[in-house]
Symmetry: C2
Subunit: 323 residues, 2 copies
Amino acid sequence: MSEASPGAPEITLLVLDAQPLPRLGRLTGKVRVLHADERTIGDRLPQADVLLVWDFLSDAVRRSWPGDGPRPRWVHTASAGVDHLMCPELAASDTVVTNARGIFDQPIAEYVAGLVLAFAKDLPGTLELQRQRRWRHRETGRLAGTRAVVVGSGPIGRAIGSTLSSLGVDTALVGRTARGDVHGPDELNQLLGRADWVICAAPLTGTTRGMFDARAFAAMRPSAHFINVGRGALVVEDDLSDALGKRRLAGAALDVFEEEPLPPDSPLWDVPGLIISPHMSGDTIGWRDDLGEQFLELYDIWANGNPLPNVVDKKRGYVPSHD
Amino acid sequence: MSEASPGAPEITLLVLDAQPLPRLGRLTGKVRVLHADERTIGDRLPQADVLLVWDFLSDAVRRSWPGDGPRPRWVHTASAGVDHLMCPELAASDTVVTNARGIFDQPIAEYVAGLVLAFAKDLPGTLELQRQRRWRHRETGRLAGTRAVVVGSGPIGRAIGSTLSSLGVDTALVGRTARGDVHGPDELNQLLGRADWVICAAPLTGTTRGMFDARAFAAMRPSAHFINVGRGALVVEDDLSDALGKRRLAGAALDVFEEEPLPPDSPLWDVPGLIISPHMSGDTIGWRDDLGEQFLELYDIWANGNPLPNVVDKKRGYVPSHD
């Protein structure tokens, strides 16, 4: 925004993009923009002051970062999670990493509420019976008065929690440490045992990887439903399939997977009681515009020498919440 | 509850039931209970002081009421709507009619919220793509900030309104007359033209029959979705099929139909964009218990000579709301 943006022509912005990035034209004249793909990013990293990870599905940054030469002073990823880009060398560096905190909160919360209601009201059963032209009345669940546990106490987890609460669901948040209204990991098992809905919205870190495994599913009630909108690797997919197949869980929905896109021959596609969606829970119409707008706002802050918001704790692997 | 219930042995309760009625045993010793089906109700009506219409799908009362002999002083129907039992002779009589006001409000509101979210997030598309094992990312709608019109300003319409409002939807209620926060019918067309979601939760009366016809659908935006949880005959089904087939509406969900059960050969089953459910929106687990409990509470009030709640305005065909 500022005409007095310091040394604009000397700033080089490198964009890792697979899809076109909206609104970047607003930087014309202020910034030299370079583009890179997975193949070229290694060569171009040393030339960049700023790296915008627009293709947030790629792990090219994590692979290329440890190479030779100077590195950007600031990396922004157009995603909430940073698991695809973090590596020890980036974590140890002086480079500031920011994320798209705030963009996905409400869309994901609505998506989760939709899944919870679909399970409570057996909408998948209704659609299947409709395909068969069968009229079969069923009694369904009431959402108000049920209990949810949301694992992940960042803005996405909080938005899920408050949306479910507004529907009358008694909701507990679990975070890395107990604080305020957030429960610590030591309470998780007990909370799982009383929950009707278990929702995973945690960042993928060394600690959380595979946390939803056979043991976690065994702690849940057979009437419970599990939903993952975090990252695929938070869940041991075989353990979830097993729990659903043996009816130790009533149902589940996965929006994220260890391997994305989920291959057509994955056995997950037809696990009974499992809803599969293609990593879209936060992606509402206009989301790319919102992400582009957010980067431009952060760019102005950075160019003016002010402290950036949304700074990722590179050791922990997410933006810490301040209560 | 009262031991001094006046003349208990002289009271005859006639129950029109197709399914067993829970909890009625609590009336043992206080009331003589007769049962009737569609075939026998005509003969038994003259013997009854009270008629409990437990089989609320039957129109046997409407057909039998005009016959000879005395008639019950009180009729209670285990349903919100009274369209299946009202006839001119009952309307003109001194008989008090009560309904199941309050039982279905929150369940139906949740059901509608589930349908709205399913449409916004394209859950039917997700389930269909899963059946085909296809990973296809789509951008979906955001619910917060959209606009809904709920036609029907009784407790069910109000519960739908407040549930949608809690999800950030700007919601307008339309009733028979404008009052307080309720819009009158003269505003309906304009409201339809700006709504993303049009929800019908109106009672079926002479005025409302067929109100959702080609003209109403033409007033809606092509991006709008229509949901009917009222009564089937509020909607001209052919007009809805036509609007959906020509993509003048983005989608619809019907839980109620002119003919129920919907026959297997009905063309409605595979109208594109139409979700069909078998009249179950209000029927959560335990609903029959709740209905039985409600009747017993009303019975105690009536037996003690106190004024009944939930009294239907027999001319209008529903329980008027008092603001």
